[in-house]
Subunit: 447 residues, 2 copies
């Protein structure tokens, strides 16, 4: 990493995190299915010198019921992320491009190949956000009634990421002399055949893509369970965390970084980036006014649907009464929300209003100075290495951050004024050492 | 289709079909892994008003042995096609973009989603070349020792394509009013849930991509077996055929078109486009000189490897002796090659020299007039609706076709001078009727 230590910034391009964002007067209502909107968002983030732009994803219409006319845009329709990032790589030049892909409904060879290809096409800017897919809607599109149970999903994920990294190491940098005169296209001694035989996968390799510009594309992980933290400590370059308070963020940060040495990794090889919903205005009053515009667009039916997707069904209860604890197995995310409701003594309506803006992530509404004060506190007090910005609506909410928050970060010396490198790993300061390999050299016969 | 009947043209962007193409003095040796080369090829083809540009593909290092240093470039390393076509969609505006994807090693939901996404991103120019994957190298990357046997692969493919088409029909064109004022994002009565339960797949749907600009992306099929012809007759908009002679082409053409009525389809709803390897020069002598440059770059070791991949192992036989019939189950492709060898009484060396240029496809070496004479004969005598051009090397071999052959086709009124439509289906004249659907309207409860 550069010295002094710098904040890393990402932006979620797909989830304008406020649930009524699509109804915002300045937002394109067709944002999720409008290529030009994505182009604009990626270019604004690049103008802001962001490390990366990120596409959340699911392989299904993820709302649990096909019921509400008012459903959240990105949970219904969007574009497949790799195809979209291929396109965005042609209209940007520096910003990292992150796609989400499931380890539950994919094969590792396909995933290794797609991200290695995107890394070549984007000249070293690809990243993979590894998810295990929780929704029933996705399971039903792949021949299952329910998603596999959580431990099984994480077990598969842990092996999956080993296979993908091994496939990315299939070829040395100098494996392809492509010498026309001698007719030597490749050098077999520079090829590494993985020959993986595991519990979930048997994959021979090698990958049919040369070693990519970053050596290995960046790996991002977001799961907060114990098993998820282990996978992150062992493999991830970035974590998208979800913490409501600095204290929570600090506990999570320590918990993950403390696990790294046992995998032979240094804490600075992993950037922990909590989600930050930011609504910024020149004055506090302006920021609050922007916030109210969004909250006023929130339909109670949508609020209940959101709670239904995140916690459970509150539709039989008084919307202005206290939040009851439903009879269901505790989940990390639902516990976070019960925690907020109990701590702040919220009604059902207040809970969905409270989380509509950020869906369980930390949210700041204020002036550039106020926003950066919070970011600086989290960054300097062991809560974060950077932030995954969740603009309340796109592209306007992101432009506000780039135009107001980024200059304040730069003024305080916390964030780059220009890109120093060209690859995402260079932005993050997590370059793969040349010669770092997870698979063995090819030992077979060579003609 | 426009009147008078017009030839359709495609180009293979990945397989410079001559096996020594990468050694050609004018060819970039890194063509398969050089984004700029693909950009150039797609733009040259678009300058030539081609209907489409095509990426062959496999999910593995497909050469049977990792032996020859002189291996064919595209059989070793390349980019994943959908990611690459996402990128190419941003630097072209009219030409159709075709990616190959396997029905054996993919899930239909992913394939439906990727091609629908590419169709949106390219504004109606996406096409899927459906293959079932024959190679052992691919099987080994997906937990199998061998590919599933051929009939099983085709059985899965037939169901796969039904599911994909059904998923493409998930939403009506007007399913997303996205009305900010009323908060109506989508109209549930315009949603169609597939709920497919078949032998190979159980897929609920709906697809999380809106109906795409072409209604359905174009479907291309290349298998020449009886079962492959049935799938093509039932579903394909385009066939990439491989015929050595006009007589063979006519027989194939009739055989497929005759099967269409039983699926309720008219013969003109399917364009049959045989592969044509074209080496063109201003004079016959210049064309032959271009041909010899390539043939002289062909190493005997590579020639035998090519035969090994296509027919079997001839390495124990006299390279200048007759082609022996090897002890192996007859395959469509090997039978084609035995047929050529017997008809023309070729030695092993002559056979690989003969097919090096086109790998079993028809090949023409001559002046623009001679080339177009052949194309016109195939087109007017019931052998072809168009041609998938296999340039011997890229981008130069394609530029020759665009600069010399296309003007002659246009002069004879056989090929467009300008694009008339903007989508691939408009170029092909196979537009999907509005309201054409393969799945039923959603019947569930709606809030």
């Amino acid at each position: 990493m550069t010295s002094p230590r710098q904040i890393h910034l990402g932006v979620s391009m797909r989830n304008p995190y406020h649930i009524a964002a699509w109804r915002h007067p300045d937002a394109p209502s067709r944002a999720e299915i409008d290529l030009d909107n994505y182009v604009q968002v990626a270019q604004i983030a690049e103008r802001g010198k962001f490390d990366m732009a990120f596409l959340a994803d699911g392989v299904g219409v993820r709302a649990k019921e096909h019921a509400a006319r008012h459903m959240v845009a990105h949970d219904i329709v969007n574009f497949e992320p790799l195809t979209l990032l291929g396109a965005l790589s042609m209209v940007t030049s520096r910003i990292g491009l992150i796609a989400t892909a499931s380890t539950t409904y994919n094969e590792p060879y396909h995933i290794a190949r797609k991200f290695a290809s995107l890394d070549h096409i984007s000249k070293g800017r690809a990243g993979w956000n590894l998810v295990t897919s929780w929704s029933e809607a996705e399971a039903l599109n792949f021949g299952l009634e329910q998603p596999p149970e959580k431990l099984g999903r994480y077990d598969r994920a842990a092996e999956f990421v080993e296979v993908v990294k091994g496939l990315w190491d299939s070829w040395d940098e100098d494996a392809f002399p492509m010498d026309k005169a001698s007719g030597t296209f490749f050098d077999p001694s520079r090829m590494h055949v993985l020959d993986h035989r595991g519990r979930h996968f048997t994959v021979r390799g090698p990958l049919n893509v040369p070693r990519s510009p970053q050596g290995r594309p960046v790996i991002i992980q977001a799961g907060a369970t114990d098993r998820g933290r282990e996978i992150a400590a062992a493999h991830a370059d970035v974590i998208y965390a979800a913490s409501q308070t600095l204290a929570e963020a600090q506990a999570f940060y320590r918990s993950v970084k403390d696990r790294m040495p046992k995998y032979g990794r240094r804490p600075e090889q992993l950037a922990i980036m909590p989600g930050f919903s930011i609504i910024v205005g020149a004055t506090e009053e302006e920021a609050q006014r922007k916030f109210r515009v969004l909250q006023d667009l929130l339909d109670p039916q949508v609020g209940l649907m959101m709670l239904y997707n995140m916690v459970g069904d509150f539709s039989g209860y008084d919307i202005d009464g206290p939040v009851p604890r439903l009879d269901a197995a505790p989940q990390v995310r639902s516990e976070i929300l019960y925690g907020i409701a109990e701590r702040e003594k919220l009604t059902i309506r207040q809970l969905y209003e409270r989380i509509a803006v950020s869906r369980g992530h930390h949210s700041v509404v204020g002036t550039p100075e106020q926003v950066v004060d919070e970011m600086e506190a989290w960054f300097t007090q062991g809560g974060a290495d950077g932030f995954n910005i969740l603009p309340p609506h796109l592209p306007g909410g992101l432009a506000d951050v780039v135009d107001m928050v980024v200059p304040e970060l730069q003024r305080r010396g916390l964030f780059r004024k220009e890109y120093e490198g060209t690859t995402l790993r260079e932005h993050l300061g997590v370059v793969v050492a040349p010669g770092e390999r997870s698979s063995q050299p090819f030992q077979g016969e060579v003609a």
